[in-house]
């Protein structure tokens, strides 16, 4: 980010947030004191929920606010509000240092490539030839469209969120596409690691404290994102908010940050910006195995996986686990797919090669009129909320369409559907918790179920409803099941399923459920269990 832009953005955030708070207080006839008291209350609650960096300084700051609030007159309350907003801005703000970026860009790909291709440190030190990154991370879909849209306007990349490795994969993919870096919000707990914090902070990441429920803080966050967009900086937001706990492709989206695209666009139009257009590009990630799958599905099943519960201590926080995961995964020539969907305008309409919005008939139309009345561009929150809702529908449709299914997903679904078929009265939760009377399934039943499933999936792919990993289109069903089982065996504490002789044993039903959830939402045939 250019230094002059940074100053302007930070100043802009402060003035907009303060004006918005004053305006809201005037409309609701609410005293500023009440807003400040709520800020203090939220921070006290926040302090109980978990450690954060600079905890002590934070406590001192809020102690000071609370102390002064008790005896502050109107002028002092306004000053306090300004300080509170300034404090949040200092917490959130990111930075971008081109020097750090150059180092990261040069050093990171070969380092990650070495890991991804299971190279040993010895091999790395000997500068032996490393397999290129492109072999393991497949960036596919509308890559050229993304490049073109960047030339025409400002882009928001909106990927699905599977694992904490997503940020690394996305950074590598963006670098692979020779695109300039995107600004993105990184969870605050990632900044607890000093080395990671240094790189994140200087590579455009700003901090998102997911435990901070203060409305003023959330307004600062959104305004910061909005202003970076207005200044033409591409952004990356995970509309799912957190990693998918169930393993399914996101259906419930948090559109707060993605929704800043509409007010940012409106402001661009109002000030006659040279490049007013904003685009949202959905992206879908697919892994054969997920590093944190056990923790995530456990969280989901315990019904604690609500947005208030943030997991900070899982497999990602243990470097050895991460190393084992990536080296084993890519030692098997496994692939991670990042599929870029066709870009959208802020209202969810598809756009053509030149970024022009397309009506359902395919005709180009002027999308700026969505926010006009009698030729005047206006912000209308109630209306714009519905447009953001429509954008969410378009994102969901793109995720479903560009979801890449792999052998683990297909095998897991086939096995889990046999479990369902052998105990039709039991719901999925009971099946996972207690299992059923059948402890194993004949290999031929698993092959048959997988075969029928693949036929249905291929038909769905033909009609553009999903994507299959290339190998699933051509491989024999035995190989698909074998590949799925091999992956299950390499990393998780207990394999999701295992073959013994001519039978398949579901060993970790929760993990099976997690991987099969990637097919959730598609209409698929039920399995049939053999009578024998």
């Amino acid at each position: 980010m250019r230094r002059e832009d940074q100053h302007r953005i930070l100043a802009g955030v402060e003035s907009r947030v303060i004006n918005a708070v004053f305006s809201e207080c005037a409309q609701q006839q609410k005293p500023i004191e009440e807003v400040l008291a709520d800020c203090v209350y939220q921070q006290r609650r926040r302090a109980k929920d978990g450690r954060r960096r600079h905890q002590r300084q934070s406590e001192l700051f809020w102690d000071g606010v609370q102390r002064r609030l008790g005896r502050a007159d109107d002028a002092e309350q306004r000053q306090l509000l300004s300080q509170v907003v300034g404090n949040y801005i200092a917490e959130v703000r990111g930075n971008f240092d081109p020097r750090v970026y150059k180092i990261a860009r040069r050093a990171l790909p070969p380092l990650v490539s070495a890991l991804l291709t299971a190279s040993s440190p010895k091999r790395l030190a000997s500068r032996a030839e490393l397999a290129p990154l492109e072999d393991s991370v497949i960036v596919q879909g509308e890559t050229e469209h993304l490049r073109r849209l960047r030339e025409v306007g400002t882009v928001i990349l909106a990927p699905t969120h599977v694992s904490n490795l997503d940020s690394v994969i996305l950074a590598l993919a963006i670098s692979q596409l020779n695109l300039p870096p995107f600004i993105y919000g990184a969870a605050q707990d990632l900044f607890n690691n000093p080395l990671l914090s240094f790189f994140l902070h200087n590579l455009g990441a700003y901090t998102v404290d997911r435990l901070n429920q203060d409305p003023v803080y959330k307004r600062v966050l959104k305004t910061y994102a909005m202003l970076t967009l207005e200044h033409g900086y591409d952004n990356l937001f995970f509309p799912g908010g957190v990693r998918s706990r169930s393993g399914a492709v996101e259906k419930r989206l948090k559109l707060g940050l993605v929704g800043t695209s509409i007010p940012a666009y409106i402001h661009n139009l109002q000030r006659h910006a040279v490049r007013p257009k904003l685009f949202v590009v959905p992206a879908t990630l697919s892994y054969q195995l997920v590093l944190e799958a056990e923790t995530l599905i456990d969280d989901f099943l315990q019904d604690v996986g609500k947005s208030r519960y943030i997991i900070t201590d899982d497999e990602f926080s243990r470097p050895r686990r991460v190393f084992d995961f990536v080296s084993q995964l890519f030692g098997m020539d496994s692939k991670i797919y990042l599929t870029l969907s066709r870009g959208l305008d802020p209202f969810g309409n598809p756009v053509d090669e030149d970024g022009e919005s397309l009506a359902p008939s395919g005709k180009i139309f002027d999308c700026s009129r969505h926010v006009m009345w009698r030729g005047v561009v206006q912000e209308v929150p109630e209306r714009d909320r519905e447009y953001t809702h429509d954008l969410g529908d378009s994102l969901r449709a793109a995720y479903s369409r560009d979801n890449v299914l792999q052998a683990t997903h297909v095998s897991a679904y086939a096995i889990f559907s046999l479990m369902r078929a052998s105990q039709p009265q039991a719901d999925w939760l009971r099946l996972i918790r207690i299992g059923n009377t059948t402890e194993s399934y004949a290999l031929k039943d698993v092959y048959n179920a997988t075969q029928r499933l693949l036929q249905a999936l291929k038909a769905l792919e033909q009609s553009g409803r999903l994507r299959l990993a290339p190998v699933l289109r051509t491989a024999a069903v035995e190989d698909v099941v074998s590949d799925g089982l091999r992956h299950f065996a390499i990393y998780h504490a207990q394999p999701a399923a295992k073959r013994r002789g001519d039978r398949i044993f579901p060993l970790d039903r929760a993990l099976l459920f997690y991987y099969q959830n990637r097919l959730d939402g598609y209409v698929l045939p039920p399995a049939q269990v053999s009578v024998a």
Partner: protein, 329 residues
């Protein structure tokens, strides 16, 4: 016409039936109205200062608010042509009832064929004659967006119209669609001389099933307990409601296989809704006994007496439906 009110959205009404002409007649007193019609209109019915257009392109040009007073059977065709000319800042209000195959609701047709998002359904106890005579009328306007409501309010200001606002366009359109099926069932009950209490029970079942399917499609449960749901579902004295009632009676009198009746039944929006609702409900795993019963009569699988008896024997569980819906995450 008295001096037009300042700032009224420029209005075009599309349609040729009684709703279109009544709206043109009434609203023409408040401001300049364009009526787009594909056939000659009785000059005595329409005020002389209502501008007449005969092409959708001309009708769309410059309009800020479009009221599509066309039946569902024509809606997609009109929307597709309009879609060539509409702009994203326009407001579309439609009065269509029913669904297309696949249980496609009217607003979804408009979304699929035009770039317009600010779409609303205008409905309510149909009282075109009362409106024309200046008598008080209650009506519902449902839209996710504020602009259609503000535009309608501007036009109806000073008129004896009680405009009720709903944000639940899905719920209101589902209720509208189910009204035809309920009217068919009530018509059959009349034909069987089952008495007035049966009418209430059938209405209750229709309300429950509309709520069940509607909520599965994204509607709000409370829509079906308010004016939007309750009044829409009651067998109405509107032309459309009367048509369904009389067809229901005819089914009992002559049977569904009667040549003349079987030729007209497929065109009834209540018949289409019945088939589509039953199919959609089955796909979603929902029980819709009234829809199933009426469908069985229409397909000849059951007599009206047996079909209605199966429904009337069932307990009404509307409260339980609502309670279950409120517990949804």
């Amino acid at each position: 016409m008295s001096a037009p009110r300042e700032g009224l959205p420029r209005l075009t009404i599309v349609g040729t039936g009684p709703i279109a002409t009544t709206l043109a007649q009434v609203l023409g007193q408040a401001g300049p109205v364009t009526l787009c019609t594909d056939r000659p209109v009785d000059a005595h019915v329409i005020p002389s200062d209502v501008k007449l257009e005969h092409t959708l392109q001309a009708a769309c040009l410059g309009a800020e608010m479009l009221v599509l007073a066309v039946p569902l059977a024509k809606l997609r065709h009109v929307a597709r042509e309009l879609g060539q000319y509409t702009t994203a800042d326009q407001v579309i209000i439609h009065t269509a009832r029913g669904v297309e195959p696949g249980f496609v609701l009217p607003h979804a047709i408009l979304r699929a064929e035009t770039c317009v998002r600010q779409i609303a359904v205008l409905n309510g106890p149909h009282a075109g004659k009362d409106l024309a005579r200046g008598k008080p009328v209650a009506t519902i306007l449902a839209s996710r967006f504020p602009a259609p409501f503000l535009a309608a309010q501007a036009w109806l200001a000073g008129m004896p119209v009680m405009l009720h606002k709903s944000c639940d366009i899905i719920g209101v359109e589902v209720a509208n669609a189910f009204a035809g099926v309920v009217s068919l069932a009530v018509g059959m009950a009349h034909g069987l001389d089952l008495g007035e209490s049966v009418r209430g029970v059938l209405f209750g079942h229709g309300l429950t099933e509309a709520a069940r399917l509607g909520c599965a499609l994204g509607a709000e449960a409370e829509t079906f307990t308010t004016l939007a749901g309750v009044s829409e579902l009651m067998p109405a004295s509107s032309p459309l409601g009367m048509q369904h009632l009389s067809r229901g009676e005819e089914i009992v009198k002559v049977g569904v296989h009667d040549a003349a009746l079987s030729a007209v039944l497929p065109q009834l929006q209540g018949v289409v809704t019945c088939y589509e609702a039953q199919a959609r409900g089955a796909a979603l795993g929902l029980e819709l006994p009234l829809m199933t019963a009426v469908r069985n009569v229409l397909t000849g699988q059951s007599t009206p007496a047996v079909a209605l008896e199966s429904v009337l024997d069932l307990g009404l569980d509307f409260g339980r439906v609502l309670a279950r819906l409120e517990m949804r995450p």
